[in-house]
């Protein structure tokens, strides 16, 4: 279908963007790879789209002191091709290759994926597993939110009205593993996990299992299996199937962490 009618503005600065976001029915447009399908299917009907892709400062990738800061407007392709990400964050480099298809990765952004908080998406789980800090800007300034406090509920985050996710800082991990099961290449995951290990401390975030990604910090494989919640079923897979598959991924991941 065709999208409903809306107005469009493309701010040149964050200040201008914050002003536009105060207008009634305003919504942020970044890569648009989730928002535009939702508009086409008339699941969303904003009055104004604030296209933030002109804010070039938000599309940088910088590595410093073992932390990689990725700007919110970096596309998945930029992240996939980044030597800094490949070197310091192999987890993210592996995860991004699972996001949809090349033509979608060329437009979809890291910030868009984190801010949308789709429970089946790869990057929110990676942010949890890496213990990332999300950088949120608003009229009152910038605040830093640990990933563990960012994903609140289904498609619900800590972002307040008028705030913009400007980037995320990912500390590197000694070891990491990313695994995902999907019916076809590029499909949403049936279930997946992002795992990291730093000095023996393991963090494993499952996605596709609940309304938000689920983080566990197990000390043993047995403990990890017990901590795994009973997943929500979907159209094709029962909770028991998903739980079984999550257990399979957990065993595969454990030996690599």
């Amino acid at each position: 279908m065709k999208a409903p009618s809306f107005a469009y503005a493309k701010p040149r600065s964050l200040t201008e963007a914050f002003d536009l976001l105060e207008r009634p029915g305003a919504k942020i447009l970044a890569g648009g790879q989730s928002l535009i399908p939702a508009l086409n299917m008339r699941l969303s009907s904003p009055e104004l789209l604030v296209d933030i892709t002109g804010l070039k400062d938000l599309s940088k990738i910088e590595a410093r002191d073992g932390v990689v800061r990725i700007g919110a407007l970096c596309t998945h392709t930029m992240v996939e091709r980044s030597p800094e990400v490949r070197e310091h964050l192999p987890l993210i480099a592996d995860a991004v290759a699972h996001i949809a298809h090349p033509a979608i990765r060329n437009r979809g952004t890291l910030g868009g994926s984190l801010a949308l908080a789709d429970p089946n998406a790869e990057l929110p789980a990676c942010a949890l597993a890496l213990d990332a800090v999300l950088v949120v800007a608003g009229k009152k300034g910038e605040r830093r939110v640990p990933a563990a406090g960012f994903f609140k509920a289904l498609f619900e985050t800590d972002l307040g009205p008028g705030e913009i996710l400007v980037g995320a800082e990912f500390p590197k991990a000694a070891k990491s593993v990313f695994l995902e099961l999907a019916r076809r290449q590029g499909d949403y995951a049936i279930v997946g996990l992002a795992g990291t290990s730093r000095g023996g401390d393991k963090r494993i975030a499952f996605f596709g299992v609940a309304a938000t990604p689920i983080l566990i910090k197990p000390r043993s494989l047995d403990e990890a299996k017990k901590a795994l919640p009973m997943p929500n079923g979907d159209l094709y897979n029962s909770p028991a199937t998903k739980r079984h598959l999550a257990g399979v991924l957990l065993e595969r991941a454990w030996t690599r962490l």
Binding site: S5, I36, A100, I104, G186
Partner: protein, 155 residues
């Protein structure tokens, strides 16, 4: 009265300026305003790949981008890449390998395939399948399409 915005973009090497509504998709703009109907519209929510275009050198979904977002961009369509002969080898291989039946997916499939050709690697069949995974064909079952692409990327 709905808002209209003036956009200027370079389509297949020619500069065009038009007034558009924000809600208009880039692929609708190309088809309805410019008569470039080679880019097809299948699912209109980013699943089928029939509307695959090239914007600033990278393939995108024409139904997941608004025409206003293409302001100032370089847009290349199947018509442009056919006329410039950039797709000639792929088109010949698709023809010879019988890599199309109804042809609806073919423009998008060629755009996605050419993206792989331009990377100038020697991809495996698995990598070819991965690169065209976002382009649906409901006739051929992909085998012949992968054969055709394989011949060009390894030729």
């Amino acid at each position: 009265m709905d808002q209209t915005l003036v956009v200027t973009l370079m389509v297949n090497g020619t500069q065009v300026t038009r007034s558009v509504q924000p809600r208009q998709h880039l692929v609708d703009f190309l088809r309805d305003e410019l008569g470039l109907t080679g880019s097809h519209i299948g699912c209109e929510h980013g699943v089928c790949g029939a509307c695959t275009l090239r914007v600033n050198g990278e393939i995108v979904r024409g139904c997941l981008m608004l025409a206003v977002q293409a302001n100032g961009c370089r847009v290349d369509t199947i018509e442009g890449l056919s006329d410039s002969k950039e797709l000639a080898k792929l088109q010949k291989a698709f023809h010879e390998k019988n890599a199309l039946q109804c042809g609806f997916c073919t423009p998008g499939m060629l755009m996605a395939a050419q993206d792989l050709v331009r990377l100038n690697r020697k991809p495996t069949r698995e990598e070819i399948r991965s690169h065209i995974s976002g382009n649906y064909c409901r006739c051929t079952g992909y085998q012949a399409i992968v054969d055709a692409i394989e011949e060009v990327v390894n030729g």
